[in-house]
């Protein structure tokens, strides 16, 4: 669907061009970002509730951008990797419009939108398929968490704006080939963040929940080998797609630690066990899910910490 109401910017990349003659290193050997964290270490998360005064509840989530310690070449620092910045507002519980049919429980509406500038590929003003997909996943993750019976005839709107999204792959790999092999890996981290931030905002809105749900991602990545190290397949938590050459599979869960329940699970990709020579590296999808749960637990701790902090402020 084309957006005829606005004058849109170009849909392609919007970063300023970097001329190769100013690069100290050749364009071919631009440092690609690499993961400096241990595989089981999550990115640090900044979470703050109560950021939007006009909303019933709101939260802001930020994952730090992974730094490339070797990135010294000019102009490329900004291109290396991005963090994740999400802001979520919750409106409600509020009465349903008169036209809506009777509902014995709360009606949850989720709305996820990338800001046009959120990724290198410019996003439109109208939600596209992937954004609607995110919204459906988010609703799935949240629906079971809210104790909906307590608000008949009411609705709650969860609106997430992605201010800075995860790239699907390293920008250097995206040079004109139009390679789509990468798939939409960035969406996994985004969804995980969406679940966590929405959970925080719902808690901030004071809507009764069985527990706070948090999101976590795990991925199986293939690290290309070089002379001294053969290529290997690793399982990492909280993958940053631009830091890995190839992501084989990824899984995101919405997890309720107190109940040990998973509210949303989405795995995609092919682990490709059949052509692996070493049996020791066999990862099953169950591993992926379990590790995603671990990642969710990590974000849960931050989430609870942030909520406690906010609650301490309010309780006098």
């Amino acid at each position: 669907m084309t957006d005829r109401r606005r004058i849109n910017g170009p849909s392609g990349g919007t970063s300023a061009p970097v001329y190769s003659k100013y690069l100290t290193k050749g364009p071919s050997d631009v440092d690609r970002p690499t993961r400096t964290r241990a595989p089981n270490v999550l990115r640090k998360m900044f979470l703050k509730t109560g950021v939007t005064p006009s909303a019933s509840g709101s939260a802001y989530l930020e994952l730090e951008a992974s730094k490339n310690p070797k990135a010294t070449s000019p102009g490329l620092a900004t291109l290396s990797t991005s963090g994740l910045k999400l802001t979520c507002t919750v409106h409600g519980p509020r009465p349903l419009p008169k036209s809506a049919p009777f509902s014995p429980h709360i009606i949850l509406t989720t709305h996820v939108k990338y800001a046009p500038f959120a990724t290198r590929r410019r996003r439109g003003f109208v939600r596209d398929a992937s954004e609607r997909d995110l919204g459906v996943h988010l609703e799935t993750a949240l629906r079971g968490v809210i104790i909906g019976d307590r608000w008949p005839k009411s609705g709650v709107d969860v609106i997430i704006t992605i201010l800075e999204g995860e790239e699907d792959q390293w920008w250097g790999d995206d040079r004109g080939q139009g390679s789509t092999s990468a798939g939409e890996w960035g969406i996994m981290s985004v969804l995980s963040g969406c679940i966590t931030v929405a959970s925080a905002a719902i808690a901030d809105a004071g809507i009764d929940c069985v527990d706070v749900v948090s999101g976590g991602v795990a991925a199986i990545v293939r690290e290309s080998g070089n002379e001294e190290k053969p290529s290997s397949i690793n399982l990492v938590l909280d993958p940053v797609p631009s830091e890995h050459q190839e992501i084989l599979a990824a899984c995101i869960v919405g997890y309720l630690p107190a109940r040990d329940e998973i509210t949303d699970l989405w795995a995609k990709g092919d682990i490709g066990n059949e052509n692996q020579e070493s049996a020791s590296q066999n990862y099953a999808y169950e591993d992926l899910a379990d590790n995603a749960v671990q990642a969710a637990l990590g974000s849960y701790r931050v989430l609870v910490g942030a909520l406690k902090e906010a609650a301490d402020m309010k309780m006098r």
Partner: protein
Amino acid sequence: MSRHKLVKSLDLDDELEDYDGGDDYGDEDGESYGTENLRLGTIKVRELLPQGSGHINDKQIQEALWHYYYDVDKSVAYLRKEYMAKPKKEQKKATGGSRSSFQPHMHERRVGPFSFSDFFKDMPWLNVPKDRQAVFIAPLYPRGGLLGGSSDDAPKMSKLQALAAARKKKAQEQKLNGASGMERPMAELSLSDRANCSADKIESPMATSTMKQSSRGFPLRKRKNSDPHEIPAKPVSRMEQMSNSDDNANTALLSLELDQAEPSAFASTMFNSKDRSSPRPSPDDVVIAAQSKGVLKTTGEKKTDQITANVEALKVDDTRRATSKNLDVLKEFEKVAKKNEANFVVIGHVDAGKSTLMGRLLYDLKVVDQRTIDRYRRDAEKMGKSSFALAWVLDQGTEERSRGVTIDIAVNKFSTDKTNFTILDAPGHQDFIPNMIAGASQADFAVLVIDASTGAFESGLRGQTKEHALLVRSMGVSRIIIAVNKLETVSWSQERFDEISQQVSAFLSSAGFQPKNIAFIPCSGLHGDNIVRRSTEPALTSWYSGSTLVEELDKSEPVTRALDKPLRITIGDIFRGGVQNPLSVSGRIESGSLQVGDALLTQPATQKCFIKALEVDSEPADWAVAGQNVTLHLSDIDPIHLKIGDLLCSPSSPIINIKEFKAKVLAFEFLTPMQIDVHRGRLHTTGKIREISSLLDKVTGATAGKKRPRIVKPGQLARVIVELETAAPLEPPGRVVLRSNGATVAAGLLE
């Protein structure tokens, strides 16, 4: 940190094994804070403790105080129960014993702002002994309202919170120092636990004995003692380990020190800017504050100005009205070298030809074009009244045209070289005398039209000719021009003209007109002889060589205008002057002057209004003076307060509504104390003659005859007191006409 998580996922059986039963709450922090409270509390407890409590030492008391958050009564009760009965036991507790691994959790609990389980600690259910009963203070409920949209202003810390914060800080210090190394494995308990569970699960497909696992897929947690210190210390070795061992699920080991990240530059800009900007008022606030200040100031100034000017204007809010240009109207008027302005009223008996005469005048002066007259002629012929065609110039109303009589005064204008004239064509019919009075009240002089045809003059003299003449005289008109009309019907007979002149001048003299102010002109309205053009009829020119009507009109001297007197306007008409001017009035300024923006007072309604705009002779103007016919566009007033005949005056020297007045009147009929209508211009109201004070001498004006006569004969001058039913704006020297039963009974001057 996920304390909830820790507590929820604890394996209680495991924990309870390690739990030594001691309920010692760490008092290791006791010295660092609240020592003063402790000291004071100890003294109080000592006072309250009964005799024989000497063996309880300070430490025990402080312990108790600490337990009960310095609640002295509870501490005393506790100490009495514990120590007075079995002092031995407490000794053991006071020593503290070995710290259990559970302790940090309990410790953490106490950090919280409030715990109900602590509050009701060791309280038995029901049958509370007397000495244990305490006064309950309302528990600390959380602040009401939803949590949402919080501002993150740092709240004022309560005592309890301060306490908790101090504890937390201390705990962190200890952590840094590695003093509480024991706590960390506990903090990581669930995670490492989780990891091991996952390990279990990963193993399970290999072991092919998955059926024993719980249906959830996650087995019951068993506490495995992994040394957590190793985990952050050597992640690489772990990675290697997992890459070549079947313990690969250890990938899931998390960063144990995962914590809130510092906000990025973006986030800190977004969320911390509030503190920086809050001390300074926003630009909007500055503007609003300045505006409110300015408003206050200006209104204050206005008030002082207006107090000196006039008190009434205080109530005025000047939001919408036009601003006055503050012209000196009189000077402006002097500057403008204007032609003379004169209003004259055309009076006479019905069918004397007043309207036709004026129509002829306008037609000959080219005020009305040929085409219009032709149309009137055609229309009039259709109605069989071809002679009325010229009268239709002034008689615009359908009823007036169909009946062939003038009903209301018609106003028209024309100008000669010297003067701008306004014609007030009065109705001659006796039913419309009030309208004629209204017209006459605006006139400077009068044109009396007399029908010279046989019999008509005589009937006219008995009819309205005399009454009109008397009325205009009593309205203050001193100059009168008599147009002897329709003289062609008597073939321009000089005898007829002289006869009429003699009779009329005799009557007019008796009515009070001076002979020099009376002029006779023979003319014919229908044919236009001696009106604008000099007659060419030989029958007339043989004996008359005097001036035409227009020449005679031009001879009228400019009347002196009462410019310096207070403003008085009688409203002649009220209408809607268009979308912009929802309320407009027209009338003649009797005295004084006005300009745009002036405030006016309407009487008898006593409402204030403002002149939004004004027109003089249908031309927009900034000011107007006495004698001019103006249209005023008013603002700030409701139309219900105005009616035709009302008076507009200046608020500074208003005309007063009176219910009774004394007047010197000339009687036309017999006057007794009776019901009358009082006319003053358009204004008329009912009243009665309450008292006839005295009869007056016509020449000298002195009191004549007996006092308080019962009756005034026609032609006599008398002083009467008139009482009005409703108050009306009248003031001396106003001219009033008294009428009764459709006839004018008297006219006179207010005193």
